[in-house]
Structure formats: structure tokens, C-alpha cells
Assembly symmetry: C2
Homo-oligomer: 154 residues x 2
């Protein structure tokens, strides 16, 4: 008694959605490279030479998590990590040859997987699906980063 219906709880649905995706990724894309690892690789293919913090910002991972993901990609030889000679605090990252190849290979599989994952939705529904999730996620992330310190704000 007094229990709630979890199917109206967005957090619970988000978790289930993410788990379902995780499993599908594992069977259809790769057992080695994870989805967050692919996201990092993807960012570095687009913008080689980014520093670690910026990559984390791009893919939505905090400083600690991005460090671990990168160290795994580094260990597998998929990216190069060098100290910025201009600024000794930064690590500059770029994909290796193999990193680029891996990214290309997984891009194809990922597209296939997305088709299967989104199969239950019509084309119109997919658009709405992306839009709604993105708006909710953006708004919640906005609550976290209280708004960039704009001139004349305190």
C-alpha cells in the first residue's frame, strides 16, 4: 500500500532505457569498446588535439570518469595522450591510426543498432523522442551549471 507506479517516474524509465541500450550495444556493436568510449573517440575524430576536460564536456562526462575512459582507450592504443607544451596542466588527445579505423568500423554497426533500437517508433515519433529527451536533459543539466557567469550577473 502507498507504493507508487514507477512507470510514471522519468528516472526509472531513463535507467531502463539506458540498460536496454547497453545490452543491445554489447550484442550488436562491440564487447570491447563501450558506448561512452565510442563517444570520446567520435569527438576526437572530429576535433583532434582537444584536452581531456573539453572532451569530457563534449560527451557529458565529469573529470573523474573521462580520465578513466581515456586511460582505457590509451591502454588499448586507440588514442595518444601528450602533455601540452604550451600549458603543462593539459593533456592533449588525438586518435591513433587504429583509433580512427575502430571508429569507422563501429560507426557502421552503431547505425545498424540504432535502427533496431528505434524500430518500435515511426519516423515522426523518433523526431519527437529525440526532441523531448534532449529538452529534459538540457534543462536538468542547466540546473546543475547555474548559467555561465554572464556580464552583470551575480
Amino acid at each position: 500500500m502507498a507504493a507508487v507506479d514507477l512507470s510514471t517516474h522519468p528516472g526509472h524509465l531513463a535507467r531502463r532505457l539506458q540498460q536496454a541500450h547497453y545490452l543491445l550495444w554489447n550484442t550488436m556493436v562491440s564487447e570491447e569498446i563501450t558506448s561512452p568510449q565510442f563517444a570520446v573517440l567520435n569527438t576526437l575524430v572530429a576535433e583532434p588535439g582537444l584536452d581531456q576536460r573539453t572532451v569530457g564536456e563534449r560527451v557529458g562526462l565529469d573529470r573523474s570518469t573521462i580520465a578513466e575512459v581515456i586511460s582505457r582507450l590509451d591502454r588499448r592504443g586507440l588514442l595518444d595522450k601528450v602533455r601540452d607544451p604550451q600549458d603543462g596542466r593539459r593533456s592533449l588527445l588525438r586518435p591513433t591510426e587504429e583509433g580512427v579505423r575502430t571508429h569507422r568500423r563501429l560507426t557502421v554497426r552503431t547505425a545498424r543498432m540504432n535502427q533496431v533500437f528505434l524500430a518500435p517508433l515511426s519516423a515522426d515519433e523518433r523526431t519527437v523522442f529525440f526532441d523531448l529527451i534532449q529538452r529534459v536533459a538540457d534543462a536538468a543539466e542547466g540546473l546543475r551549471h547555474p548559467a555561465e557567469p554572464v556580464a552583470g550577473r551575480r
Copy 2:
């Protein structure tokens, strides 16, 4: 070059959504009890005496994860765990007094948090949001559990 747009990747969006929710939960609901822990507690309030495996099935957690979540709730004294005298393999679970009180308290806060989380969406959009996510998640989970062994199937 050749990089994809992650904002059209449902897995990436799902992860971001879940992370955003995690942060909001932490600030608005509880720093002690997590969302999965609340889900377990919620299930046990509704159906006290369930075994561990069934609870996991209800909330969508695999055998290993549910074991850890339950051991934490047990350690905090929020549930009782006893061996089923009828079937020595099973652990039967029920919330303690404090578990019920905690659940009641968090139910209120969770409702408030959901309001904030879903604030960017209109009432109609929320309905669609739930429906779309649920359909995608259900379908993907269905791929995993290849369909219950119905009579006359192989």
C-alpha cells in the same frame, strides 16, 4: 571528418538523461538513498515477502546488481532478509518499520523532483515522453528475453 552527431544517438541521449536525473535526485531527494534503492523499497512496500530474484525482475536489475542494492538496504536496516523455510535457495525480503517510513518520506520528495525534472514539457508531451521511452525500452528488453517459452514453441 566522418564523425557522427551524437544527438541523434538514442543511447547517448539515454545516458545523458539518466545522469541528469541522478544529479537532480542527489540534490532534491536524498544523498543516502539512491533511485534504484527507492525502487526496490517501493516494490517491497507493495509486495512484502518477495524473493530477491523477483524484486530484481520487477525493478529491472540483474541478479548481481540486485544483490548489492539489497545488501546496502539491509546494512542500513531498511529491510529484513530471511531464508525461505519452504525453499532454502530463496531469500525473502520485507521492509522494516524504518524502511516504510523512509519510503513514505522519499515518495513526497520524489514527486517534487519529478515536477522539476519534467518542467520543460507540457502535460501532453509528458504523456508522449513516457509512452515513447517505455515502448523503446520494452522492445529492447524483449530482444533480450527472447520470449517466454510458450507452449508449442522452440
